[in-house]
């Protein structure tokens, strides 16, 4: 088991290194340079553009060959120095440190919302199979899967903020993160991000529950005269959880990398998604590489955690 974890960790580091390298090369080989932003201001003031550009590039070592830049970046990274953000004029680590909580909060709340409602609705739909409720749940889940999250976000803003005026049309960063006001303005973003996930969970929970409802141990449990609540809650649900864990963990990875970014942009939440998009547009390579790297490690960690969780949920599973 320990060997397995060590092997997986080494493997994760290799994958992350590969992704880091690809991102770095893409950014540094591209035709734009991180100093372009400064140059625009300087050109407007009528100063000599070329000499200033060269001075800045020399200062940050951007004029060296790309291999040398790459190795010095890697050396810095291994020493814990994540580089300097040109667009925000602060160390990358500081920039990420002040923004990650917004993304984390959004993803956490949306995931909790989706799991509780999705698994709950899926269970009910399975228990009430072929009733009106079941059909309604399956239509709802088809709609939820097919609706683009960012458009749903726009529609929620249109209805609840623009026309009904229940919420503000912009995200106010003046509230403390965990204050009630802040949580209230997160209701729409959490719904926009969570409904797609929720719809998927309804579907998977329902089918996983139905698979197990037909098993013989359920008949046995009922024959023993156990109350239906115990049969569903203990015997069926616990056996249906394993495939669900895979789906939920896998989804979490795609939420981190796709949905959350777009939701942040639609609602103007200043999380890592916004930070990385702004960094891409400013060609702030250190920030982009750092955000990509953090996200990659997160996904790799989630994958490892999923596999380890299996051994706990299903003791029959063993890794060599």
């Amino acid at each position: 088991m320990r060997n397995y974890i060590i092997k997986r960790l080494i493997y994760s580091i290799i994958i992350a290194w590969g992704i880091l390298t690809i991102t770095f090369i893409l950014l540094r080989v591209g035709p734009t340079s991180p100093v372009d932003r400064y140059i625009l201001n300087i050109a407007a003031r009528g100063q000599d553009v070329e000499s200033v550009k060269q001075a800045i590039e020399a200062r940050y070592g951007l004029n060296k060959p790309i291999t040398e830049q790459y190795f010095s970046y890697m050396a810095n990274l291994l020493q814990g120095n994540w580089g300097w953000s040109f667009s925000a004029s602060m160390p990358v680590l500081e920039l990420i440190g002040s923004h990650w909580i917004y993304s984390f909060q959004l993803i956490l709340l949306a995931t909790i919302f989706a799991i509780i409602l999705g698994v709950g609705l899926g269970m009910l739909a399975a228990v009430k199979q072929n009733t009106k409720f079941d059909y309604a749940a399956s239509i709802f889940s088809f709609i939820g899967i097919s609706i683009p999250g960012f458009w749903l976000g726009l529609m929620l803003i249109l209805v609840f903020a623009v026309y009904l005026g229940v919420f503000k049309t912009y995200y106010d960063t003046n509230y403390p993160i965990w204050s009630l006001e802040n949580l209230k303005q997160l209701i729409l973003p959490v719904m926009a991000l969570g409904i797609g996930e929720l719809a998927g969970y309804v579907r998977y929970t329902r089918s996983a529950m139905l698979d197990n409802l037909r098993k013989e141990f359920v008949t046995t449990a009922r024959a023993k005269g156990l109350p239906e609540r115990t049969v569903i809650g203990k015997h069926v649900l616990r056996n249906a959880i394993l495939p669900l864990v895979t789906i939920i963990m896998f989804d979490l990875g795609s939420v981190v990398f796709g949905g959350a970014y777009l939701t942040e942009i639609v609602f103007g939440i200043p999380g890592l998604g916004q930070v990385s998009f702004n960094a891409i547009f400013a060609n702030d390579y250190a920030v982009v590489v750092a955000v990509t790297l953090i996200g990659t490690f997160l996904v790799l960690f989630i994958n490892l955690a999923t596999d380890l969780l299996y051994t706990y949920l299903d003791p029959r599973i063993r890794y060599e």
Partner: protein
Amino acid sequence: MSEEKISRRGMIKKPVYINRRLVRYYWDRLKKNKLSLAGLGFIVFLALLGIFGPFLAADPQHVDFDIKNLPPLGFSTQESIYDIKTNTFATTVNPGRPDHPLGTDSKGRDMLSMLISGSRISLLVGLLATGIALFLGTFLGVLSAYLGGWADNLLMRFTDVMMTFPFFLLLVLIVFIFGPSLTIIVIVIGLTGWTGAARLIRSEALSLRTRDFITASKALGASDNRIIFNHLIPNVASLIIVMATLSIPGVIMAEAALSFIGMGDPMSTSWGTILNTGQHSLDTAWWVAVEPGIMLFLTVLSFNFFGDGLRDAFDPKASV
């Protein structure tokens, strides 16, 4: 069932996988799923709209500020202008006009023509990018399964790296570096989207490889090429078709999301581009954000319904 077996045996003699009776059999199974047929109907409608619509509709990029923000037919907007002489508000009502049945956006562009142009772009991007991705995925998956050993290992580790890559961030990054054009968008989505297909087709091909008919073919002296193209690929064909149908909506959504954040091809009008305009005029012209989203939603829903129906139709174990 017997009909299928005969067809499969007939297939070995015929190098091309189009077998009339088999297609007929699948079509009969598909027909029983009404939602799937409805999905197919909408896809056909969309395809016709995309192919012929732009020839009939007005220029989607024609700007006319005199008719900006016209509501769709059947709706009307109110405009209050303060009259300084009489010190009163003069309210005029702007009803929708039949020559712009779906209204106009903030630059006076006709919504109907823009939506028609968008359907062409979306289908084009969806089909081409999925085509590239599935071609690569099938090729690499079958190759990996057939070669085995270190080549298989290497290919699958590479697939792991690609799968962990933050897909949407990569898309934004590459489009930013190489400039926003439809060609780049299609190529990037195609080159990054093959991983899931490669894995699935590899595992399917691996299980096929050990089957008796492949062993028999080898014993008869068939070349590797012949086994791959005449036996492996035809047997995963149904899998490929289902994957194609179910991965097109993801591609369409990715393109829409990209255009929505302002990184679409500026030379063409896609649903995402319209949504981008609509986002900024939610309070004055709601229809600009609503209409393309509905098209997007219906398209994704149709592909999901159709793909689900196809999967059941191809699956001999599923009861339809």
